[in-house]
């Protein structure tokens, strides 16, 4: 009908009216909520969207848990030699010094922040978290970390099919973890941990510390960094534990309200 009216008018009037109707229809397509930045939080719905944990970039403030200096002091930037480099790890490498590879801690920090944020959100939603590591030296550290944040750890031989064939192995329908945190993704130098593949098959998100000889492809949130030095693994354990505890603390606060 508007088209008929437009045709019957002169060209100048037509352009004016068409611009006006275009403006109005454009405005009607825009949100009716006031712009938060300019007008501030006016309605209750605005406050809810702003404080929605999923919409906030860092609801649990996990970005404040570490600095690049902390990573540097924990020797997170040391990699293996060039000869054992996995080609998929090349984007995360800063360079090599006398054939020893060095991780770019700016990239590592970015990935670690994402991983910690995700971990905190999973803990906030009441998810089960499983710490996995096949480093015999750090098995006790990983297990105590899991104990401290009341989550789970598996640092022994991984029997194939624990996720994919859980009904058969455990004898009943089992609730699988909602997140797997790999403190190292290799069983030994030659083979990747079976749980990486199993978690990917069962759609379980995984966070993993990947060294220069590891394959980061099957992990949801790979964190490039050193996975051999005890002080580096202790730092990761501390950070993940803190992120999980923060998520749980917020969950408890919301339940109490």
């Amino acid at each position: 009908m508007t088209l008929f009216i437009l045709r019957s008018l002169g060209s100048r009037a037509r352009t004016a009216i068409s611009e006006f109707s275009y403006e109005r229809s454009r405005r009607s397509r825009l949100s009716t909520k006031p712009n938060v930045r300019e007008e501030g939080l006016k309605s209750e719905t605005d406050i809810e969207t702003y404080l929605d944990p999923l919409k906030h970039p860092d609801y649990f403030k996990v970005h404040e848990l570490f600095t690049i200096s902390d990573l540097f002091e924990a020797r997170v930037h040391y990699g293996h030699k060039i000869g054992s480099l996995n080609e998929y790890m090349k984007p995360y490498i800063f360079g090599s010094r006398q054939d020893h590879l060095i991780f770019d801690l700016d990239i590592t920090a970015r990935h670690l922040r994402q991983a910690l944020n995700f971990t905190a959100h999973i803990a906030y939603q009441g998810g089960i978290i499983l710490f996995i590591s096949r480093n015999a030296q750090m098995a006790h550290t990983v297990e105590t970390t899991a104990l401290d944040c009341k989550e789970f750890a598996h640092t022994r031989y991984w029997r194939g099919g624990i996720f994919t064939n859980s009904q058969c192995i455990f004898g009943a329908t089992t609730r699988l973890p909602d997140l797997c945190i790999f403190l190292n993704t290799l069983n030994n130098i030659l083979t990747q941990h079976t749980a990486v593949v199993e978690a990917a098959k069962m759609n379980i998100p995984s966070v993993g510390i990947v060294d220069t000889n590891c394959n980061p492809l099957l992990l949801t949130y790979p964190v490039p960094g050193n996975d051999d030095t005890p002080c580096a693994i202790e730092l990761y354990c501390k950070l993940f534990k803190e992120a999980i505890l923060r998520g749980k603390e917020h969950r408890q606060k919301d339940i109490d309200q």
Binding site: I68, H80, K81, F94, Q98, D104, I189, N213, D228
Partner: protein, 167 residues
């Protein structure tokens, strides 16, 4: 004024500490003479070189840059250069019979046999001097595509620096 500022900052960054101190001493001398002559003024109005020198001497000395690149550039690892035959200091953190597991600040530890001389002083927590042979024992074997690592460094034990067993 601006040119003096630039010269001063350059001197401060690259000149040895003695020159900076010398300038400081000169300035203090200047201040004392000025305050003697004008007893009524508690705060003198500084200008030019004196003003900029005071500003820089009073500023909090924050480390120049804390970027990863600068941390790496100023690290001990880069100072090491070619690790072969370099002397480093390590701490014994684990002992299994006569094998000493020594951590010297690198990604890996090294394992050295207990020496015959002063063997009882090599205990957990002792600091020792090492000569690095290889920072990571890894090599490509025939027919393999990737290196095989032992996840260990190779060092020669030179001697004890400090041992808790001595006291």
């Amino acid at each position: 004024m601006s040119l003096k500022n630039i010269i001063f900052t350059r001197l401060r960054n690259f000149a040895p500490a003695s020159i900076y101190c010398y300038d400081c001493v000169l300035l203090k001398h200047h201040f004392s003479t000025v305050s003697d002559s004008k007893k009524a003024d508690s705060e003198e109005k500084l200008s030019g070189f004196a003003k900029s020198l005071l500003k820089f001497s009073e500023s909090n000395d924050t480390p120049q840059t804390k970027t990863f690149a600068s941390l790496l550039r100023n690290s001990k690892f880069i100072d090491l250069g070619d690790p072969k035959n370099k002397i480093v200091e390590g701490t014994i953190y684990h002992i299994v019979n006569d094998d000493l597991y020594i951590d010297f600040g690198w990604k890996f530890h090294c394992v050295c046999p207990r020496p015959a001389k002063r063997g009882t002083e090599y205990v957990r927590g002792a600091t020792v001097k090492l000569r690095v042979n290889d920072l990571e024992l890894s090599s490509r074997f025939l027919g393999a595509t990737k290196d095989l690592t032992l996840l260990e460094a190779d060092c020669t034990l030179l001697g004890i620096v400090n041992s808790p067993a001595r006291q």
